[in-house]
């Protein structure tokens, strides 16, 4: 009985393809710019051919059969490409399900006189396609993760500017979440900048940081210690009230660290330390 199904599917290949592609176009309406109709037809044809080429009575209920590797590879390619293009997981899921539905439509018509066979075939197809769905889901996620990793790298590069606010004084405003890895990058940048510019004071402003955990707090303290070891000083400014609270609750001792409420305060402190004075200019009296 099984061989009938495979024969039926192979015979109805073009019908299945047409139904599947039409199905995609109708739910495709919003994403014409992401992928062209030709590409859709090509991708669908490739997968359907791979499936029919490798499907036989032995492996129809065995997803792990090596013959399906080709199909899985083709599905994964489509999944990753679409993930990177910005397709939603739903759209990619519809893609896979569309084929399942197209196949089932054909089987329904052809096996209408044999409900038992239809039921068996339906079960097998469902199982097979459930597994295909899972695989495409996994590869989709992987595709997105690659995008995230690349973006994370890009963000790290631009996110820690070092500003020479005055001769001998550096400011590093940090914006965004500080995690352990980023704090280490900040530490290295800060120390390198101190050497390069010969600055005596570095102000680390964390007013743009929403939260600090104990690991990050430890790294901040190591940063201050390393700065001192090199012969310079590090001031931390802009600690938000919530962070101050977290730090105390975590039992972290910041008594050895110089902290100032804002970058402005830290700057004033730096001037004082370097024995610099900021004065208002004297206006000349009686000049006509």
């Amino acid at each position: 009985m099984e061989s009938n199904i495979i024969e039926i599917l192979k015979k109805s290949k073009s019908l299945i393809l047409k139904n599947w592609v039409d199905n995609q176009f109708s739910s495709q309406a919003l994403n014409d710019d992401l992928i062209s109709s030709e590409e859709i037809k090509e991708q669908s044809e490739e997968i359907l051919s791979a499936l029919l080429r490798n499907l036989n009575e032995q492996n129809i209920n065995n997803i792990d059969a090596p013959e399906f590797d080709e199909v899985i590879e083709a599905l994964s390619d489509v999944s990753i490409t679409r993930a990177k293009l910005g397709f939603s997981p739903k759209e990619t899921g519809i893609f896979v399900n569309g084929l399942k539905n197209a196949i089932l439509e054909v089987l329904e018509t052809e096996l209408s006189s044999n409900p038992a066979a239809l039921l068996a075939a339906t079960k097998n197809i469902y199982n097979l396609f459930d597994n295909f769905s899972i695989i495409t889901f996994e590869t989709f996620i992987r595709g997105r993760e690659e995008v995230i990793i690349r973006q994370t790298d890009e963000i790290s590069e631009i996110s820690t500017p070092v500003i020479r606010v005055w001769e001998g004084i550096l400011a590093l405003p940090i914006i965004g979440t500080l995690d352990s890895a980023r704090t280490q990058v900040v530490m290295e940048n800060l120390l390198e900048a101190i050497v390069e510019t010969g600055s005596s004071i570095a102000i680390l402003d964390i007013s743009g940081v929403p939260a600090v955990d104990s690991l990050v707090a430890q790294h901040l303290m190591k940063t201050v210690a390393a700065t001192r070891l090199m012969g310079a000083e590090c001031v931390i400014s802009g600690i938000r009230p919530e962070i101050a609270q977290t730090i105390v609750h975590l039992g972290i001792d910041l008594s050895n660290i110089i902290t100032k409420a804002s970058l402005a305060h830290a700057l004033k402190f730096s001037f004082q330390t370097l024995k610099l004075e900021v004065r208002k200019q004297q206006t000349l009296v009686g000049v006509k």
Partner: protein, 138 residues
């Protein structure tokens, strides 16, 4: 065998570490330095490690020793030019460089020494002597 040169710069001595210190060399440096401090009545020692890429606990001990010995002879010690990677590693290692001041470079180091050290004694001694030989190389 190589010897690490000690330069006299007024009331201070400058030691530039350019090679990896091994035991014999390090011990000789300690001895030379102490003797020179005593001979010249130096008030400060600058240890320049700007070319040193690895400071382990052995090196840390040497620096600590030099600082302690110098202090006994009434001289302050400043370590200058520590590389960022070295600073980060030392903090992680937990090496306490006690009794050692640090500065970014030789110039700052000298400023630091001048602010910490009583140079009267040294200057008086210079007045007494006929010649001021400031370029004694070892």
């Amino acid at each position: 065998m190589e010897k690490i040169p000690i330069l006299k710069m007024g009331p201070f001595l400058l030691v530039t570490i350019q090679v990896d210190l091994y035991d014999r060399l390090a011990l000789n440096l300690e001895a030379d330095l102490i003797k020179t401090i005593s001979d010249t009545n130096a008030k400060g020692v600058l240890i320049d490690i700007s070319v040193v890429s690895i400071v382990d606990s052995f090196m840390g001990r040497i620096i600590g020793n030099i600082a302690s010995m110098s202090k006994i002879l009434d001289a302050e010690t400043v370590v200058v030019g520590m590389q960022p990677a070295v600073a980060i590693t030392l903090i992680e290692l937990g090496l306490p460089l006690t009794g050692v001041h640090t500065a970014l470079n030789v110039e700052r180091g000298m400023d630091l020494l001048r602010s910490k050290v009583n140079l009267d004694e040294y200057n008086n001694q210079d007045d007494d002597e006929e010649s001021t030989d400031d370029q004694r190389d070892h």
